[in-house]
Symmetry: C2
Subunit: 583 residues, 2 copies
């Protein structure tokens, strides 16, 4: 490809609304352009990288015996109603009525459609296992699209769905997919960690998340120094805190109401009452379709909604609205407390750290009032049919897991694998006849990879102040031939000859044949991050040389024109060997 | 690939709602499954064929210098409002409001988005020409999805958009795309014809349509025997009919009202008044945003809406609703006539064939009444500021073009190329600075190919009573090794060995390793249409042979096991040579 004949609109300025390096560089390097909030057009070099990632994913999925299919983006709402996930997805899932009045959704994922397919096509254990995948667009109407392609409204996902007759068979495919994901991320040049993950609204019995550690990531992973434990923040289990000494040594005075007019937030209450968040009991009200759920965590802790979802058996649970809170507590929002409400809620979940408190401050169930000296176990129960003390909060600095200190790291989730079990197959009648002639629901696994996120993660990991440093496997081009002096006939013809030799060798090369200054060309080559630059300049050519520079290194190396192609071939082989999964 | 490890759910019965061979066979051969009206999941062998078509399209577009990009499927409604096409597309374009209240559409095409991109990225003539393409999903909320993928709600389209500084440059790219399309369809094994086409709501100054002739097609192409003229029915120009002799010889009596209670349709009026459709004047009422358009055609003719669109300068025109018709004529729908209405409409278009009538029957502008002895030119004008006699109907049997008889053929439109000119660039401010430093709107072309339609057309052209006969270039597999007797160790191991030899040679092969009867396996191989079948059976193997059978031929040929791979390689080369565009 000739630079002059493609479209690489590089930009000097850092775009105002791009907060993280990958987003900034994907705009600056002419990889993509924003169309609307959370949607982008991929320009030629961006799309080349995406295609390379898709090809790696396709090759590895095929190698693992998965079968590529394609499901529609517009799916019948009715299928989602059968699994109840139309409710779970809420506003994040785009819905519309078509001209014949039928409800449709824009696919955020495809469990329903693929399970419905299986319900029609799978009859016998002899057809199992089966692992179907697609690489296609997914849609989420994000409340706040941000970070470029990391949280966008439209993105490319590889999603695979496996069907099995036995748990052992599911385990086997799950492990194959796990290994396949390792191969894929390695081939894409990503460093990654694998952590235990919650299954969330996907449901199922087990999950691992593949995360690329980097500061810009929205995901938090939690691990122990010795590597014996690693999980994402949604999953990470924390040890109960020790009972506060004062809770053991003396009995606090009775509860006391205090007037806290218009003071609702934890911070405001602490300032007003001169206490600390760690001495407050945060009372949160949620609702399920058949009742209210109350959750108590310490004022300096956050409820973990994944743990909450697991605590209610994987059912959909969401923040209660104002009316429900007022109805329950008799007070305005911001003044809820657990005292006296146990019989009125379906579940009360109390975090271990609250149970360990000597006493705390919480809402008085009375507008503009809080109450202090609230003693867990005295002023509200710690056990009972609807009451449970459990781990229901996010891990935080200072927490331990099995006695070992937990460490925290941010990252980008690039893939996740799930054991779904029979959650979808039971609801959508995807069953098979086993060897004894009995009907059983298929056991399922599902396996997702964010294609765009791989590209963004590679940039988060590989960049410097001058631009992107691509892994060779997913760079838009492997080599750039930069002619410094197209105006000079000898330079131009030498560059042209070298370019054509690369093309003849099947090397993925771009030729910067533009007129103009060397500085501009070097800056562009650095910004778009091509792994190997071959510079053809007047002085070196006069001496029979050109220069080779790796994007990841700072030195230029003079190489005779006659050997430059062989030398580049050798370097490329070296770069590729580093990403080679079979070496 | 092993047959036992993929998913090819063949079906014996012809599906009830599939009307044409390609639709029937795509379901029967396990190529796809319906998800909802007009949407399908592509199963493994279907998706393989689609991928092969996409690769051919991609290779040829790249060879032609076009640059691949990807635009989002969810597009801002606002862009469509700026070109006015939100109105043109009507209900066919899916719209929805997102959670932040913004209007969105599901892309039926991408002129707006790509032109908006160009408006930001193109500044100078030095950046032109530029030809951007994508291969992506498009959406149309068809009123009546049918014929499988030929008229579906979601389909894969290659759409390209070129930008130019001069008409000559646009012409050049237009011709390159024209040639590229010829290469693509030839490589996909399609017979096709190229006809002149109307630009419709795309706008612009010229268009050609690539059509695969076949009985099942929804498009009609019109041509002369000598090949001097070919167009699609929307475009085909017809000669005016000669003036009816009686119109010359004597003057008919005055108009006469007749009571035709409840008789509105042409057929009903003819039956009631004992006349023929050819003696009736059909009066049709349309509306534009600034007035009513009346069109007169003979009772046996149909208005050509493309010609009508051109007649009003490419603006949007649609059938008037009941209220507008009643308001204009003072009568119920079905009783309109041109008499006395000329001053009340923005345009009156009279087809040549109406102008040539001696007299006719038409509506009386009075509910339940028609009028006879209506003489064109006497009872309504044939000229005037708002009146035009022109070619405004579809060509029909008996028509001529420049004196030559027109012939008709049905076909499937697989591609179309358009010269758009400045229609979009002017509205969306996509301009460039020319050599003199003046701003001009970019001239544009656009070029579409229906990927799924290529697959369906290939099946329409290539099938027999036993199933599909794929062109080798887009067959899901090139070769099938059919083991007839997997239960026999010698047969099984011979088949396995041959399969592996094919794999080692890089041949795209599927191995029918299933147990079971030969009849079932042959039927499946025929149904899914693999070009070359290698049969490994007990008797032949005992003699050191296997059999080769081409799907397109009836004979089996015995070949020594030792040479079968070479022989298949030779046949494949022969089959491919037939589709080779460079030979």
């Amino acid at each position: 490809m000739r630079y002059s004949q493609t479209l690489i609109p590089t930009v000097k300025e850092v775009p105002a609304d791009a907060e993280i390096p990958s987003h900034q560089l994907m705009l600056r390097a002419g990889i993509m352009r924003k169309v609307a909030s959370g949607t982008y057009t991929y320009l030629p070099i961006g799309w080349r990288s995406i295609l390379k990632v898709m090809n790696i994913v396709r090759e590895e999925m095929d190698r693992a015996g998965a079968l590529e299919i394609l499901m529609p983006a517009v799916q019948p709402l009715e299928l989602w109603q059968r699994t109840g996930r139309d409710v779970d997805y809420g506003e994040t899932m785009t819905r519309f009525i078509d001209r014949h009045g039928r409800g449709n959704v824009l696919a955020p994922t495809a469990e329903e459609v693929v399970t419905d397919l299986a319900s029609h096509e799978i009859n016998s254990y002899k057809q199992l296992p089966l692992n179907l995948y697609q690489i296609s667009f997914k849609f989420r109407d994000e409340f706040r699209p941000r970070f470029g392609v990391l949280r966008s409204r439209e993105f490319i996902m590889k999603d695979a769905y496996s069907f099995h007759a036995t748990p052992e068979c599911l385990d086997k495919t799950y492990h194959t997919m796990y290994d396949t994901y390792c191969r894929i991320f390695r081939r894409c040049g990503l460093e990654y960690v694998i952590v235990e993950a919650e299954t969330g609204e996907m449901g199922g019995s087990g999950s691992h998340q593949f995360t690329v550690p980097c500061e810009s990531g929205e995901d938090v992973i939690v691990y122990t120094q010795d590597g014996s434990y690693a999980a994402n923040i949604e999953k990470a289990e924390v040890d109960p805190l020790p009972k506060q000494p004062s809770a053991v040594s003396h009995q606090p005075p009775a509860m006391e109401e205090v007037h806290t007019p218009g003071v609702g937030s934890i911070e405001a209450v602490c300032a007003f009452l001169k206490t600390r968040p760690a001495d407050m009991i945060k009372t949160l009200v949620y609702k399920m379709d058949d009742g209210i759920v109350m959750v108590l965590v310490r004022g300096d802790h956050d409820v973990n909604t994944e743990k909450l979802t697991q605590a209610v058996g994987g059912r959909h649970v969401e923040m209660a609205d104002e009316a429900a809170i007022v109805g329950l507590t008799g007070a305005a929002v911001g003044f809820a407390g657990p005292q006296g409400l146990v019989g009125k809620v379906k579940h009360l979940f109390i975090d271990h750290s609250v149970a360990a408190m000597a006493s705390g401050v919480t809402g008085a169930n009375k507008t503009d009032y809080h109450v202090r000296n609230v003693v867990p176990g005295r002023d509200f129960p710690l056990d009972g049919a609807d009451v449970k003390v459990c781990d229901i909060r996010n891990a935080t600095e200072g927490d331990t897991h099995k006695g070992k200190k937990l460490l925290f790291k941010r990252g980008i989730e690039v893939g996740q694998v799930f054991k779904l079990g029979a959650k979808y197959s039971a609801k959508l009648a995807a069953s098979f006849l086993d060897e004894k002639g009995e009907q059983n629901p298929c056991l399922m696994g599902c396996y997702g990879i964010g294609i765009n996120r791989i590209v963004a993660s590679a940039i988060e990991l590989g960049h410097d102040e001058n631009g992107i440093i691509w892994p060779v496997s997913i760079a838009p081009y492997e080599v750039i031939v930069t002619s410094v002096g197209q105006e000079d006939e000898v330079v131009a013809s030498t560059a042209e000859r070298i370019y054509k030799e690369f093309v003849a060798k099947g090397i993925d090369v771009i030729f910067d044949d533009r007129p103009g200054r060397a500085g501009v060309k070097f800056k562009d080559a650095d910004l778009i991050g091509i792994p190997i630059r071959v510079t053809v300049g007047k002085k070196a050519v006069a001496e029979g040389n050109v220069e080779i520079k790796l994007r990841a290194a700072s030195e230029n190396k003079a190489v005779p024109i006659s050997t430059v192609v062989d030398e580049v071939v050798r370097i490329l082989a070296e770069l590729k060997a580093k990403l080679n999964v079979d070496s």
